[in-house]
């Protein structure tokens, strides 16, 4: 339930972060797009403006060329027109010549100022061409229907006393074509204003020229006269029929149109934007000199910005796709984070469970030192350092009936499985040892119990001992564990152990018990191979030699064990601990224990040396006051054992030694006979049946039979290429 709430809050937090991320992404993308759009638009607008202005300029130049040609035609004819003032009948020829010689001029007249020539009060001979024809026609303009002196083309030049371009007009007489007229005042030789000389030019080409200006497909051009007369316009019905001012007045938002018209009619150059029917249009305009006309190019902004808007659209679509992908990615990222969080929560839970497990495991083994503060005869210390949170090593000890029961063990493997087996092993030890005094029995029962249910094939190397605190006698049994070290005043050596099988391998395994005696201040250092196999970074092992060099018989158990730990830690350094490390050190401190003594005899493998044994035994018997009968029995047993060695261990004729060691204690004698001959175990000899009759009795086999009968314990061991026969005789 709690996890659920935590997950929800995590989800909320992650969603918040995700949302923020998306918002930042959108803002960044949008800002980038806007900046780009703004600068692109600016660039495009400048480009459009340049294009429009260059079109305006080139169109203007083309118009000017025509205008100039017409003006030039008129000026070049001024002299002859002046001349013709004196010969009115020649005037027709003059106008005809102007029309013929100047292709742009479609009509020309010399209109006399009324009254100049008394003979001809109104006179205006007019030569003209019909559109598409080369033939030049003549007409007299001075008719009743046409009052030429009141016409603009006649009045204005006289008034200005300068050349004048008329407002464009539609020539109704000459085929309804759009025309304009350039007129100049004529003075006679006497300096009197005499007439007006004109040249008409058709403006049909103007419509084509201006109308065909195509900056953009949907752009269009217009031209208006100085009075606002519409000269060129895409809407043909407006041409020459309406004035720009009138059109503007009909339109919505006419103010801008008025402003445009005013500026254009004033002959200004410029540009502005016009909004009409929801479309913004850019208008560029410039005047055509001399005529007072003004030309404009109108470009809808959709033309200019169409491209960039399409790009903008695509950018928006891409942005949208990007944001969608971002959302999807965020979503899956949040999901995977949630998963990861769950995993690490699981890990945390397992770690905390392992920690609890470690606590439980540590509480199973005695950890309070000194463990027996009231006792002066035992000095103990132990430590266990698992490689992981929980380990498979164990030790245990307690005192029952003045005997110290102790054990050390190492479960194969590490971690949780090993720790479970460790717990079982430790429990079994307590249960079994509660009513078994013999280490061999303890180990045998434990092994049978563990082998029975050992489905996971885990086994335990195990060493257990029972130390009689009264006399230092140690009985022990080893189940595949490494040999403990015996620390005495004479030095450090391995406790002789029969290796045996580890616990849990096979039910019914028989284990061999061994025994020894500890003197006062003798120590037994038990450990697991995590100690001697501790590795440093260079994969070097700590090893037996380093350990043995550290052990001193006069060190207290606690300081000794801590010194070993310290040394291992320094040796290993930063390398990870590879195996559980456990040590158990017990020192026997019973000062009331009588010292033991050792006697030695070394014989050659010569049967004739046998009698020396009698003296050897006699000396010992005297020393400890043995009675003659027992001395003789011991002599007999020793002789049988030694002569066995002499006769069987060494090949005939070769030289060899037999080492006889006697260890004298207050309650027992130990004889240890060692030789380097071929392996020979006399304890394996068949039993002699002493109940048989004379005929059936065998001659041999009596020797070992006697040894067995005389001694309380006989053990054979083969070690380091030596036969070791140990015999014990209890005394008193």
């Amino acid at each position: 339930m709690k996890k659920g709430i935590e997950n929800k809050s995590f989800l909320r937090q992650a969603s918040k972060t995700g949302l923020l991320l998306i918002v930042v992404a959108i803002v960044t993308l949008e800002a980038t797009a806007l900046v780009q759009y703004y600068f692109s638009q600016k660039g495009i607008r400048e480009e459009a403006s340049l294009r429009a202005q260059s079109q305006l300029e080139s169109t203007r130049l083309k118009i000017s060329a025509v205008i100039d040609e017409a003006e030039t035609a008129v000026r070049n004819s001024v002299w002859i027109a002046q001349w013709s003032l004196g010969y009115p009948d020649s005037m027709v020829a003059v106008t005809r010549r102007i029309v013929c010689e100047n292709p742009v001029v479609v009509g020309s007249t010399i209109a006399l100022v009324p009254g100049y020539l008394p003979s001809r009060p109104l006179f205006s001979p007019y030569s003209y061409q019909m559109p598409g024809e080369n033939e030049v026609h003549y007409r007299q303009l001075a008719t009743e229907a046409y009052d030429y002196p009141s016409q603009e083309w006649f009045v204005k030049p006289l008034e200005l006393q300068a050349g004048y371009w008329s407002e464009p007009y539609v020539d109704e007489g000459g085929g309804d074509i759009l025309m304009t007229t350039y007129s100049m005042p004529l003075w006679d030789y006497k300096g009197r204003l005499a007439a007006v000389l004109t040249a008409d030019i058709s403006l049909d080409w103007l419509t084509d020229l201006v109308g065909n200006v195509e900056v953009y497909p949907n752009a269009f051009s217009m031209m208006i006269s100085r009075t606002g007369q519409i000269m060129v316009c895409p809407v043909e019905s407006l041409i020459m029929s309406r004035r720009a001012q009138e059109v503007a007045a009909d339109m919505e938002g006419g103010d801008v149109f008025d402003e445009l018209n005013r500026s254009m009619m004033a002959g200004e150059t410029g540009n502005l934007s016009l909004k009409y029917r929801k479309t913004t249009n850019y208008v560029f305009y410039a005047p055509v000199e001399k005529t007072g006309w003004s030309m404009s190019i109108v470009i809808p902004d959709s033309e200019i910005y169409g491209g960039i808007r399409r790009i903008g659209m695509m950018v928006k679509v891409l942005q949208l796709v990007g944001i969608l992908m971002l959302i999807l990615i965020l979503r899956s990222s949040i999901k995977s984070q949630l998963k990861f969080k769950k995993l690490s929560e699981n890990k945390e839970r397992m770690e905390s469970e392992l920690k609890i497990g470690r606590g439980i495991q540590m509480s199973m083994i005695p950890k309070i030192f000194p463990p027996f503060p009231e006792r002066k005869d035992i000095d103990m210390y132990a430590s266990i350092v698992p490689a992981k949170e929980v380990g498979g090593d164990l030790y245990d000890f307690y005192i029952r009936e003045e005997k110290l029961y102790f054990c050390i063990g190492d479960v194969s493997g590490k971690g949780v499985p090993a720790s479970l087996v460790m717990a079982v092993t430790r429990r079994l030890f307590r249960t079994v040892s509660a009513h078994e005094k013999s280490p061999q029995r303890i180990v045998t029962i434990m092994n049978d119990s563990m082998s029975d249910m050992n489905e996971s094939n885990m086994f335990v190397t195990f060493f257990t001992g029972v130390l009689d605190l009264g006399n230092g006698h140690l009985r022990y049994c080893n189940a595949g564990h490494n040999a403990p070290l015996l620390v005495t005043g004479q030095g450090v050596r391995e406790l002789p152990v029969v290796s045996n099988l580890p616990l849990g391998v096979m039910p019914g395994t028989s284990f061999q018990e061994q025994e020894t005696d500890l003197a006062c201040q003798d120590g037994l250092f038990c450990y697991t191979d995590g100690l001697t196999e501790a590795e440093n970074a260079g994969h070097e092992l700590f090893g037996d030699d380093r350990l043995i060099a550290l052990l001193r018989s006069d060190s207290l158990a606690e300081s000794q064990l801590k010194a070993v730990s310290q040394s291992v830690m320094e040796f290993v350094g930063d390398a990870p601990q590879s195996d559980d490390l456990t040590m158990l050190y017990l020192r026997y401190m019973n000062e009331s224990l009588p010292d033991r003594a050792e006697r030695h005899l070394i014989l050659h493998n010569d049967i004739q040396q046998i009698p020396q044994l009698a003296g050897f035994i006699e000396a010992i018997a005297d020393e400890i006051h043995l009675d003659q009968s027992l001395a003789m029995s011991l002599n007999l047993a020793l002789e049988e054992a030694v002569s066995n060695v002499i006769m069987y261990a060494y090949p005939e004729g070769s030289d060899g030694l037999v080492d006889i060691e006697a260890i004298i204690r207050h309650d027992r004698l130990d004889f240890i006979i060692t030789d380097s001959g071929k392996p020979f175990d006399p304890t394996q000899a068949p039993e002699v049946d002493t109940t048989l009759g004379v005929e059936e009795r065998a001659i041999g086999g009596l020797g070992i039979y006697l040894v067995r009968n005389i001694m309380d314990d006989v053990r054979y061991e083969r070690a380091e290429a030596k036969n070791i026969l140990s015999m014990t005789k209890r005394i008193q």
């Binding site: 046998i610 002569s643 002699v688 004379v694 009795r697 009596l702 006697l706 005389i710």
Partner: protein
């Protein structure tokens, strides 16, 4: 180890003096050959002065006893001390011999 062999009519007596240990047995096994040769008679093994016996000594005694058994003679052990008697008992030899005290 000294062995004194003395024959009076049909009784042949061997007196063992000293320790009948393993090296001594090598010599003694040759010395007692007359006893084996006369195993049809009564053989008396006088142990009154025997101090010690090992299994090799016991083997010599058993060899003599087996010969007597085969030839229909008697073997009498006389005057063993307590320690040697214990060895005989331990090995079941007391049952194989006629044992007499002085």
């Amino acid at each position: 180890m000294e062995v004194k062999i003395n024959q009076v009519e049909k009784v042949i007596t061997a007196q063992f003096i000293g320790r009948l240990d393993t090296p001594a047995s090598l010599e003694v096994s040759r010395q007692v050959q007359p006893l084996i040769d006369h195993a049809d008679l009564t053989v008396v093994l006088d142990c009154s002065q025997m101090e010690y016996i090992s299994s090799s000594g016991l083997r010599i005694f058993l060899t003599i006893r087996k010969a007597a058994s085969a030839r229909g003679g008697r073997v009498i052990i006389r005057n063993m001390n307590e320690d040697i008697r214990k060895v005989f008992m331990m090995t079941g030899f007391l049952n194989l011999f006629e044992v007499e005290k002085a």
